[in-house]
Symmetry: C2
Subunit: 265 residues, 2 copies
């Protein structure tokens, strides 16, 4: 079996990948979230691991925007990882001497206050993953990266400062993606995307269906449809453990513009 | 009068600033959205202009997250700008020869497909504004920036390619921020942030109040509270033109953990 993840080795996605699959599973790194999901769509891998949301930064928009466009992909499982960000470099530089800081935009955002207070004059350089950042600084003097402590050994870096995220309640939710929507009777959660009808109270009408069927909404997120300012896709998570949610789905069809079940897991 | 904006000269925020205020108003550039809002909070400026959401990328999370933390600030007005992104450099380089592309993360995200198709091997470098990116490439060989066409003249750059955003329906919504919540009887829109109670159906209860009072919701966005994965602030926009919305606000108090009116405008 082959599994894709947001690589290279040393990313938080890789950590989840190691926790989820045994060593017989071939783990293939991709350069972006989009490429990871497209690889699954193209059958290069059978499953894929992507980050979904973080407790500090919110929704990983690239994941949702790519899933909306890849209709054959569904969520098989979720996994939550406690995130610790660390500042690393090829030598034990003083913070004052660092000229560049490399990392993934989400990791940079998670350390925004730390960077403003301690590395105000360094150039912030956005790259496609935390591990790619580590690889970048291996041979760069006075450059540091931010990422998982795994990168320290993986790329032979020095640890300048550990645990630099602005908030200690830093967790990331990941999805394990597959090709077919699983018919699992023990699912705890349902994830749906939909658009509303173009009329007053349209979103309320959708949510009232779930309320009527005693289904609790644990998450709602809007993403632009990219056609017009003010038009959105909605992503919702619903608790379905021991619930018959099919009647709600049947009613949903009448009050949405479009909907798709992204996963039962 | 003094007004702050996400600078330097040549940003889209500057364009809105020029459209909104006459030449007697002193326009002061700040380096980040957070610094712009904090300057208003500290009375360095009387008003401030910040981007809020974009039709392709969605919510500008830094704006909302900073507003949540600065309790004395409110929205006075909104303005919408049609966005055109352009690739510029100090000389008319061929795309193949470009080694680095500088811009603000939102602008980079808006041109994600263009970059992947045309500048796949260039390093993408995130800076704090589109105009700062322009300033960065003024003296850098084989480096390009992405931003407003204003930057071309402002920084004496060459236009390599105009209109490179992935989608032509590219609009950004801005807010004009001030210190006091205005009592304006002609307001069209109400923006509120709130947290829900920790119980099933909590969000539905909030929205049902607005439905009961025939108030239409045009926007809902969730942002993490940064305390725990799965806990959110909600930001909603409500149409209030010719409506008595105060009874709804009175009822709202009973079904939320916390709420604040960010603006009537």
């Amino acid at each position: 079996m082959k599994v894709g993840y947001l690589g290279p080795k040393g990313t938080f996605s890789y950590e989840i990948c190691k926790n989820t699959y045994n060593e017989n599973v071939e783990k293939i790194p991709y350069k972006t979230i989009k490429e990871t999901i497209v690889a699954l769509d193209n059958n290069e891998v059978e499953e894929a691991i992507v980050p979904v949301e973080n407790s500090l930064q919110g929704c990983v928009t690239e994941t949702l925007d790519t899933l909306i466009q890849n209709k054959n992909i569904s969520i098989k499982k979720e996994a939550i990882l406690k995130i610790k960000q660390n500042l690393m470099a090829k030598e034990l530089y003083s913070l004052d001497s660092i000229k560049e800081v490399y990392s993934h935009p989400q990791a940079l955002a998670q350390c925004r206050n730390y960077l403003q207070n301690n590395l105000k004059n360094a150039n912030i350089i956005e790259v496609t993953s935390t591990a790619f950042a580590a690889r970048e600084v291996v041979n760069k003097p006075y450059a540091a990266c931010i990422g998982s402590i795994d990168c320290k050994d993986e790329y032979s870096l020095q640890l300048l400062k550990e645990n630099i995220q602005d908030n200690q309640s830093n967790e990331t939710r990941f999805w394990v993606l597959g090709k077919d929507l699983e018919e699992n009777n023990n699912s705890k959660q349902l994830t749906i995307i939909f658009t509303t009808l173009n009329e007053p109270g349209a979103l309320y009408k959708v949510l009232s269906i779930f309320d009527k069927h005693h289904l609790n909404l644990t998450k709602i997120e809007s993403r632009p449809t990219k056609t017009k300012l003010g038009e959105y896709y909605f992503w919702i998570d619903i608790e379905i453990e021991n619930k018959d949610y099919m009647p709600a789905i049947d009613e949903l069809k009448n009050v949405v513009g479009f909907y798709r079940i992204l996963g039962k897991y």
